[in-house]
Amino acid sequence: MKIMVLNCGSSSVKFQVIETSLEAIEANTDATLARGAVEKIGLSDSRLSLEVPGRKPHQEIAEILEHRAAVERVLKVLTSQEHGILADASEIEAVGHRMVHGGEKFASSVLVTPEVEAMIEECVVLAPLHNPHNLRGLTAARSLLPNVPHVAVFDTAFHQSMPPRAFIYGLPYELYTRHAIRRYGFHGTSHRYVSIRTANLLRRPLEELRVVTCHLGNGCSMAAVDRGRSVDTTMGFTPLEGLLMGTRCGDLDPAIVSWVLAMEDVTLAQLNAMLNKHSGLYGVSGVSSDMREIEKACTTGNRRACLALDIFCYRIKKYIGAYAAAMGGVDAVTFTGGIGENSALVRSHTLSDMAFFGIELDEEANVSAPPGQEVLVSRPGTRVAVAVVPTNEERVIARDTVRVLGRVMPSFAIPGNEAPR
């Protein structure tokens, strides 16, 4: 079946059309038929781009003032004779929507009903920068494709299986009961996908494996996936916590925040921008937020670039140890995301001197890991496998859509896993 996947931001709508089915999921043969985006929504020169495998990329510039018009335009180009891939919009059998935050309400992907839409609306307060736009896209798509099922897939849902000891902060408990301040974690679709693919690569059932997944892109997070369930993750109430990222600081003594606020005479907005956009690899190195640039600068002797690289890898190493302790051992460490998939140096530096732990990298396999492919880069026979698995969040959304429609997945929150209220 043809699934349209939508990912709506404040001024953009990204889309893919994926051909998949329960059988294709099993055989890992689902295929992307088209992908593209509408950008600069709300302006007179909005841009729609479309890529279809084997064809020249297509672009349109037009005034697209809101999300509904953007989705309408996407449907139009997908069904156009010249550039499209569908004879009619009715070929789309379901729509999968990326939702950033499902709060504590959603522990897996769900079929969208008016009640579900209202529950997503209640999560807006937790992700005011993302959920409203996700919702706008959802509403637009439901009104334009009213006769097909719509499925919501949440970045946070996979981590809803974390126990309270992993998600409650050491703050006054009222902050949890009043404002739902707790660890939620993000990149859930990616962590889930790569843990499943790791089991496949090892030819072992996921239910037997303890996997540490490292999603290292511009945003970075790790998860402890214990027999298929996320039991801990590095990102927290927001995506700012945990690993060092391109421009985000990650773990920090919270007292630094109030100290800087008082001493530097900065506004809250400037402080937020400092932590989110001026920190991380960029803030430490002063060179770039791009790991490729950092590696290059380090090779030519830039000491701050080397330090940024060192901090980046050291934090991942620490969390591998922590998550092994949390799960009572580890069977595999999996790298994904732009950096995780492409930087042999980061993998090698992170996993150096971990033989005592059962981790031994096959340096040759690590350096020659082919891009875009699932491979093992650990020495054969070592206790802990190291895998490189390209992530594909759109594919997970399409697959979840199929599974939800086939009633393979449960919905709503996990009973018995909540903290006392």
Partner: protein, 288 residues
């Protein structure tokens, strides 16, 4: 300064901006200062290099008035001079389509008086951006006597797009913010003049006592004492209220060219980054 700050904020919100000034030298200077403002904000971690690029890419500079005809909304930000503003909006009225709102950026002048005699006076309304435009959350949106609901609503929506809160009000000298804050600044200056306390003590008392970000005199320095004097004189003329009669200390400082943070000296001394130099030992952040 107000014009380039507004242009920056509008572009930051993702909208395209045309900045018009009368000569090429002036538009070049505005472009240079605007880029310097953005660099300063980057140093304060408020902005990234790529955001700066995007902001600059959306701003076009011109000396030709007809170039503004393609805009959906026009804001004038020339000096607080009635005759000059009147002349400009007469020219704009002839160039712009009748449905385009003309927004007067003023804190003291009468919108209705400025709109009088135009072909489309109903499109004229007032907007008072507060310093610093990029961070202050509020904008006063002021309805003149003949301003249409349509123009007023467009302006309010525009303020929301900028991520700010529109305060709707009817025209009155000084509107809300200037009318309320000017007597505070003036009275603080009187307290200093009477020798009750030093400027630093007066400011510290108000700042710590009422949890203000700045004391009234430092605030006046940051607004610019020449502007404060101009507003007070105008409010005094308009209302005849003695509370608006400018304190001689303010006039004295302005006459000496000590107009505040931008020139490095006003009630207090400032460095080239507009940071205050002569704080009292107790005027420091308290962490516990």
């Amino acid at each position: 300064m107000m014009g380039r700050s507004i242009a920056t904020r509008v572009s930051q919100a993702g909208l395209s901006v045309v900045v018009r000034d009368i000569t090429k030298e002036r538009t070049d200077k505005v472009a240079e200062l605007l880029a310097a403002d953005l660099d300063h904000e980057i140093e304060r971690w408020g902005l990234t290099q790529s955001e700066k690029k995007a902001i600059l890419a959306r701003i076009e500079f011109t000396t030709e008035l007809p170039k503004t005809a393609g805009c959906d909304l026009l804001i004038e930000t020339i000096n607080e001079d009635f005759a000059a503003k009147k002349q400009l909006i007469l020219e704009l009225d002839a160039v712009l389509a009748p449905e385009i709102p003309i927004i007067i950026n003023t804190s003291t002048l009468s919108i209705s008086e400025l709109a009088h005699g135009l072909q489309n006076p109903e499109r004229v309304l007032g907007m008072h951006f507060l310093y610093p435009v990029t961070t202050t959350r509020v904008v006063e949106v002021v309805k003149g006597q003949v301003t249409s609901d349509d123009a007023f609503e467009k302006a309010r929506r525009f303020v929301r797009v900028l991520g700010k809160v529109p305060i709707q009000e009817f025209e009155s000298p000084g509107f809300i913010t200037t009318r309320v804050v000017m007597p505070l600044i003036n009275e603080a200056a009187h307290v200093v003049m009477e020798g009750v306390a030093s400027a630093a003590e007066v400011d510290l008392a108000i700042k710590l006592g009422y949890d203000f970000r700045y004391g009234p005199l430092e605030w006046a320095d940051r607004i610019g004492l020449h502007r404060v004097l101009n507003w007070l004189e105008h409010l005094f003329r308009e209302t005849g209220e003695p509370k608006f009669r400018p304190c001689p200390v303010i006039r004295k400082l302005v006459r000496a060219g000590h107009t505040g943070a931008t020139v490095g000296k006003g009630f207090f001394n400032y460095d080239s980054e507009r940071s205050r130099l002569d704080r009292l030992p107790d005027d420091t952040p308290k962490l516990s």
